[in-house]
Amino acid sequence: MKCEICGRNEAKYEFIEVVNGKIYKKHVCGKCLSQIESGIVKPDYSKIKIFQQERTECPVCKTTMEEILTKNKFGCPNCYFVFKNFAEEVIYAFHGSLEYKGKNYIPSLEKKKLWDEIKNLKMELKKALEAEDYEKAAKLRDEIKNKEKNLWM
């Protein structure tokens, strides 16, 4: 049978995908399979016409919808909001979800200050070692250790 993605080559592989908790089996050819594996999404062809009609251009990077569809990449962070509908479509197709569930890595001002203090202490430590002032170096090392404990708490 013919590949269910390109419709041209013989489908030699069975590709299983999970969308919305349901399992879909697609029979695909080798070329399309490797493109799926490498993550080049082929958007639903019936939808491409609609998306291509979006004449908007991202004000920050000047990328157009057409450019995104041909290159399969966005131009800048702002593109994700300018082309919101398309972005959500593609993100969902890849990840099966639209929710980031990872950690919030943005540090508080307090911790940021602590980090900068540690950075300065480390520079001082380096200077002390170069000057062979080992007493000062030992003190600095202890101070750094303490501050780092607070940082990662």
């Binding site: 299983i16 993550g39 966005f74 994700y80 993100i91 990840h95 099966g96 639209l98 929710e99």
Partner: protein
Amino acid sequence: MDVDKLTFLIKRIPPWLRSTGSYNDIVIYTQVSIVRNLKKYMFVHKLSFEEKKHLSMEVIEGIGEILDKDSFYIIDLAELDKLDNKLLRSLYERQIIKKESLNDFLGKKVMFYVDESLYVIINEDEHFKIKIRVSGFNFDFLYKKLIEICKSLSFVFEFAFDSKYGFLSAYPQNVGLGIFFEVLTYIPALVVTRKIDDILKDFRKKGLYPRGFYEGNRAAIRGDLVYFYTYSGLGKSEEELSHEFKVSIEKLIDEEKKTRREIYEKIPLIIEDRVYKSLGMLREAKLLNMLETVEILGGVRMGKIFDIDYDLPSLQILNELLLFTQPSHLSIITQKDLKDIYLEDSVRAEFVKDKLGV
């Protein structure tokens, strides 16, 4: 850029190929990639050369704040191509840079850590990508290091991050956690019994994808070596993603171990045949291309794993050979200019025979 120093490093076996990690008879190495883009720049493919230069300086400065500034070499890929194209290709063979970067290298840099426990690739697909690699399946250690680095990064850089989608990228498939796990596994028992087919189907459902070792055909498994990598960045936390990955690979390890025992008990001839055919071919070969080498090394490795009665070298040497028989590494290590394919294949045959004491 000190070409001699880099040559010295390339001739050395990287730590992630030493057979020191756990389950190293099944998992050769484990890697996690951290993919990040800075907030105030457009994505890489939109940047001018000047902007790329600026960005790479910022990245190098920032990473140096987190990860010992004095233990890496900065490699400018364009410069390396001019100085020594073979060294550039060896970075690709070492799985540091992508194939595209061998021709398209303007503005791209690599922070090559001397202990090769990690690499930072700048301006390739993303602003930067940190690859942390360990031998075997030392997963807990890897995960701990991953989280430490992720936390530290946010003190130093302001990333393109959205509370809904997570870390942003030019590629929608890299959006979200920006964390990708990968393992290189050696699974001869599962391959010969075809049990691997069910496992691949099962893994695909869990968002784990396979890739063959020999690049000729992505879908084909050569030398019984397979990569597995995670794919999704959304809908799961770091802990969930890593836990699922760890459990899946541990299950793979168990299945492989069990199946190895089964085969060897029931039909040891299959194993012995494969091993002795490989050794025979190796002994008689005058020319060895990469594909043949990968398959032969797989057969010899099988002999080592199943303790076939023969004087076989260590797993570490077998790992070493997977890397050092690749064209650029081979040329650098044997110090021969391998101008044509026959010379390359004959030098490779000599080299492998010599290393395996055949």
